[in-house]
Chain length 346, copies 2
DNA sequence: CCCAATCCTTAAACCGTTTTAGTAAAACGG
DNA sequence: CCGTTTTACTAAAACGGTTTAAGGATTGGG
């Protein structure tokens, strides 16, 4: 009743286990006749090599792990991950690899890492002092960092967050906005400090705002979801200090702000301009369509996988230069209605 | 330089391998003093059990596989999967399981199945005669079918596709539409026949259309992506036989039809009404927002994982009744402009 | 002082593969 | 006819853990 093993096949075919193994992995080392017999018997018995046994023996599992810093249910609510997986997946399929999603188990990412039988890891948004990275180092498993900080020990892949954010802020300022709010990404794991990504975007926003001599922006922390964005809108200042423009660090939050704003009777963009970040596909279909900072998410995934695969082959790889970001101007931004600048509605 | 094994720890701590194993898995079987010493040494050496070895020995890997019938890059372009994973993930995290994505490798899902070291599988949208299912049976691994057909050998989870589709079609017909087009889902794998899901939805549409005595609808096959939906719009009949309403089997395709239609100068819904299927979150934000058939995707994932976990515990489980679907009426549907019914724009 | 019970600890078997280091027989060259 | 290759196959040793069955102290009771 239990699983058919290589020994069963060997006995049935009247050969050694080695021969059976060769039949599958080294067919040229067997005689024509035996090869066919063994394969035939294996087929009849429905033999399938035990993956774990194979992984143990070959020291490779054919799987790469994606280290996810938060719960799957929150992370996969953001299309960002879907897109990243599209990029990763393309490379995986090309190299016969499968993809293991590794979220924190029991709150512990470290524990999850240990449990995972993978040949390499892609980590998402870990800050460089995260204890999970120590574990990875200790195990000595190839790792590529995505949306982290460049690290001496692992190649890391980033986009020009600061430049993109700066362009976004400058866009609003040039439209005549002065009073801005910033929707800040929450820390990736229950830690005090921001993710490196959030820090870089924040710095880009601030750089542009200072250069323009505009007042300090109002910061709100909000999760990467439409609902969180909507809540963020509620906590924006009212009255005189009401921001006319919102810089969101994610498209999902931006969409939340837009719809909450519209539900509260504001016109977007006339009364409230909103800029997102990421340019997930959905931002092109929203009402109004979302002005946002585009980052090449699929490319990012593809590149990350490609580097990891190099690493797994034993090659050494350098961190590539940050990928390019660009502002995509759509219909969620315009000059503020009360601005003295001409209203340039697109 | 190589990995720290249990034997290294044992030697360093002056105990047997067994003692080290007990220290982690059966601490109560060790004396206070040795326990602490062993754990200390393990910590210092940075010992981490080899997952594959563990999996081989314990006959469980702590992973469940998601069988994906198509390339990751196409499947993850559809938010449907993201949502399903949110449901699956919730249960996985609760039971300390990780999630392995298993797409076809080298075009072969069967091969990928063999390679995957998992304790159970969740299969998506396989038709019941798919050869992959044979492999699963042969290996004798617990399996739950999602969006398939109910099978004697595996529990399967479905929603009331037919009822939902019927409601969608009836909605358009009641608004006064006569000439309808149907965007049919493509077959999941390179096979001739439709997926069971597509078949059930089609049957629902047709049932309503026949009941209303409307003319045969015009069918177009299109992939589950916005681009595919847009292409589908292009291939719709023009002139007299132009459909005034489109029934799409996925929200993504529906969104594609809408935007292609708008780009071609049609007003949605006045000139063209569109109904989607799934009710992915994005369909609430589109312009206009999308009327669609809601299915509880997250619940579906949660339920599938729950059943699989039962199955893995050795319990026997029955296929639950199809989950409920309901029509969500938003702004992409109205009476056709040239209808003799009053235009009831919502 | 002996026997049994209790507590720790361990040697050895096992999980199911791959791989190394052969061996026996056949083929070959001179 | 005799080494030397080549061919076809195999026994045994990894791989790195867990688990079973048993062994050796230590303790307590009689």
């Amino acid at each position: 009743m239990s699983r058919v093993t290589i020994a069963d096949v060997a006995t049935a075919a009247g050969v050694s286990k080695t021969a059976v193994s060769f039949a599958f992995n080294n067919p040229e080392r067997l005689g024509q006749a035996t090869l066919e017999r063994v394969l035939g018997v294996a087929q009849d018995l429905g033999y399938t090599p035990h993956p774990a046994a194979r992984a143990l023996s070959m020291r490779r599992s054919g799987t790469i792990g994606v280290l996810i810093p938060q719960r799957l249910s929150t992370v996969f609510a953001n299309p960002f991950v879907s897109e990243l997986i599209q990029g990763l997946g393309e490379q995986c399929e090309e190299h016969d690899l499968t993809l293991l999603l590794v979220p924190p188990l029991d709150g512990s990412l470290e524990g999850a890492i240990r449990q995972a039988s993978v040949d390499g890891f892609i980590s998402l948004g870990l800050s460089p002092d995260d204890r999970a990275l120590e574990v990875l180092d200790r195990i000595g498993i190839p790792t590529v960092l995505v949306d982290s900080e460049s690290s001496p020990s692992h190649p890391s892949i980033n986009v020009d967050d600061e430049g993109g954010a700066e362009a976004a802020a400058r866009h609003l300022l040039e439209l005549g906005h002065r009073q801005l709010a910033i929707i800040v990404l929450p820390p990736a794991r229950a830690q005090v400090n921001n993710t490196p990504t959030a820090a870089r975007r924040l710095s880009g926003y601030q750089k542009a705002i200072r250069a323009a001599g505009a007042p300090e922006p109002y910061p709100v922390v909000a999760g990467i979801s439409v609902a969180a964005g909507a809540r963020a809108f509620e906590s924006l200042p009212r009255g005189k200090r009401r921001p006319t423009g919102v810089l969101a660090m994610s498209d999902m939050a931006a969409i939340g702000v837009m719809s909450a704003g519209q539900a509260a009777g504001l016109r977007v963009p006339e009364d409230l301009s909103v800029v997102g970040f990421d340019d997930v596909p959905a931002s092109a279909w929203t009402n109004p369509s979302l002005t946002t900072v585009r980052q090449p998410i699929i490319d990012k995934g593809r590149l990350a996988a490609r580097l990891l695969i190099q690493l797994m082959k034993g090659k050494t790889v350098e961190s590539p230069a940050p990928l390019h970001t660009s502002l995509v101007v759509r219909n969620s931004t315009s000059s503020p209605a009360d601005s003295d600048l001409p209203i340039r509605r697109r």
